[in-house]
């Protein structure tokens, strides 16, 4: 299997949030990013956060309709991680010109911009969810994040049937709506 064939298989797996594919990508590329971060004033934790964020950027890119990766996964992840880390260093005022690059880099500015927008949106929802309170928060997370069925949820939360759980879910969504639009600022 050629490198590009293998990469496209991995990307398909990534797009579906498949554990095996992500595991493989993670294992192959983490140490490269780790070396970059640690050589440039970062810690182990910084390396983990930056690498995971880079993977998230790639994942989000894989969700777009016209998704196409014109370079290797490795190059892409490294470029994104490098950019994220430089921004963070600038923010922390620890900025110094980074060591010479370990691998070639590609332009990822657009992808990062999209990612930052999504991160802001994520933050709004996260804040709204944080204020929602229980049991609504757990109920909504069970449905949307953990993708449980309404039958499972009604059993878990002690509702008599799935319809009751559904009613409860929509009540929660209405509460969330108020909190969400209190946070929401149209861009």
């Amino acid at each position: 299997m050629s490198r590009s064939d293998r990469d496209s298989l991995l990307l398909k797996g990534l797009a579906l949030n498949e554990k095996d594919a992500i595991h493989f990508i993670y294992k192959e590329n983490f140490s490269l990013v780790q070396t970059l971060i640690i050589r440039n004033n970062g810690t182990e934790d910084d390396a983990r956060d930056v690498f995971q964020e880079a993977l998230l950027v790639l994942y989000e890119k894989s969700q777009t309709d016209d998704f196409e990766l014109t370079c290797q996964i490795r190059t892409y992840l490294y470029s994104v991680a490098r950019r994220i880390w430089l921004k963070k260093l600038q923010y922390l005022k620890r900025f110094e010109s980074p060591d010479e690059d370990l691998v070639e880099t590609v332009s990822i500015e657009e992808d990062l911009e999209a990612h930052e927008k999504r991160t802001a949106q994520y933050g709004v929802m996260k804040a709204a969810m944080g204020r929602l309170g229980e049991p609504c928060k757990s109920l909504l997370e069970a449905f949307y994040v953990h993708q449980k069925s309404m039958v499972e949820i009604s059993a878990y939360f002690g509702y008599t049937n799935a319809d009751n759980a559904k009613t409860q879910k929509y009540k929660c969504l209405m509460r969330l709506k108020k909190l969400f639009f209190a946070e929401y600022k149209p861009q």
């Binding site: 949030n17 294992k27 983490f30 949106q121 994040v145 929509y170």
Partner: protein, 366 residues
């Protein structure tokens, strides 16, 4: 349609779970009722965001799990900093701060020393003259003559010159003496002589230039150890104006001197010392300063060159410190100091009579 029903319908629509008929009704309602359409837009936006929120949470959780697994399996390992050490890294990170701090410190130091130089009183540095005695040619001649007379008893080998003299006193009846370290400068041998003129060979056991103290040990078969010393060595401080006396060898026989404690610190504020007003001459160095209770409170070591009667003595507490240091180095075999005085109630004449047996002249051989 109330709000619950509406959001439920919106979700159903967005998930593509509506039948074509339901779809048509739903879209028709939106078109005909702008308020319903507005509601739809809101619900769509929020549900959309909920989906992406949930999605990111799932991916993040997945990444977190994978990181954990890879760490446990050892496939990813913490990286040692091979490029630069921690110190170097801190240096590169903070060198500007350090630079600024150092220059501030430098400027401040210069400023302070400048101010000090401008405002400090321009007192002349006290000239202190050590009290060791240069044995004059005359005295040397007389001692040479005596040496010829007492050739049999002489401890000093012929041909060796006695160049300097001082005083020392016993701090342990077994034959340990204390004197001023400067008395022994450049000594190649030491002989001590008591007030009856008997000489004993002695060795330098320990010397502390800083405190100007030295310990000698009489190593001579002719020396008969005493049972106990009449005086004690005081650990305590003294009060100003306390009367004190000393015995020493500014010449070839023991000389008594009397005075008082005039200050609790020595030359230029030296807190290891006292300042005394007492007559002392070269040769008195190393002599004891004794209070009226018969306690040694100091060891004479210097006088101010240009003022008559201003003498400095090292506090006796320093003898204890010295002996402790010797014990640490295993040099003080059997050496024991006593603070108890045996001559407390006696009058001065009887005190001196008892004490003079323990005061020795130090003859330094070069």
């Amino acid at each position: 349609m109330d709000q619950y029903q509406h959001i439920a319908a919106t979700e159903k629509f967005l998930r593509g779970e509506m039948s074509p008929d339901e779809c048509r009704v739903f879209e028709e309602t939106r078109r005909s009722n702008p308020a319903q359409d507005q509601l739809f837009v809101e619900h769509q936006l929020m549900l959309d965001r909920m989906v992406t929120y949930a999605e990111r949470k799932r991916v993040k959780a997945n990444l977190h799990d994978i990181h954990q697994t890879l760490q446990e399996s050892g496939d990813i390992q913490p990286l040692e900093k091979e490029v630069q050490g921690k110190l170097l890294e801190l240096w590169t990170r903070y060198r500007r701060v350090v630079g600024v701090a150092a220059s501030i410190a430098g400027v401040t130091a210069l400023l302070i020393s400048g101010i000090t130089a401008v405002f400090a009183p321009k007192a002349p540095i006290t000239v202190v003259e050590e009290l060791r005695r240069k044995v004059s040619r005359l005295e040397r001649q007389s001692s040479n003559q005596r040496a010829e007379i007492n050739a049999v008893r002489k401890k000093i080998e012929p041909g060796r010159e006695v160049s300097f003299g001082g005083t020392s006193f016993l701090i342990d009846a077994k034959g340990y003496l204390v004197t001023s370290a400067h008395v022994l400068t450049d000594a190649t041998g030491v002989v001590v002589q008591n007030h009856t003129g008997e000489e004993f060979r002695a060795t330098i056991v320990f010397a502390d230039i800083q405190r100007d103290l030295a310990i000698l040990k009489i190593e001579d078969d002719d020396f008969l150890p005493k049972s106990a010393l009449p005086y004690g060595i005081s650990r305590n401080g003294m009060e100003i104006a306390e009367p004190v006396f000393t015995l020493g060898y500014p010449k070839d026989e023991v000389v008594y001197g009397e005075g008082y404690l005039s200050a609790r610190s020595g030359a230029e504020g030296d807190t290891l010392s006292y300042q005394l007003s007492i007559s002392a001459n070269p040769g008195n160095s190393g002599g004891p300063v004794i209070n009226r209770k018969g306690e040694v409170i100091g060891i004479l070591n210097a006088r101010q060159a240009k003022a008559e009667g201003v003498v400095f003595a090292i506090r006796s507490l320093n003898i204890y410190r010295l002996v402790e240091e010797m014990k640490d180095q295993n040099l003080a075999k059997g050496l024991r100091l006593s603070a108890a005085s045996q001559i407390k109630g006696l009058d001065r004449i009887r005190q001196v009579r008892k004490i003079q047996d323990c005061i020795y002249m130090v003859k330094v051989l070069m």
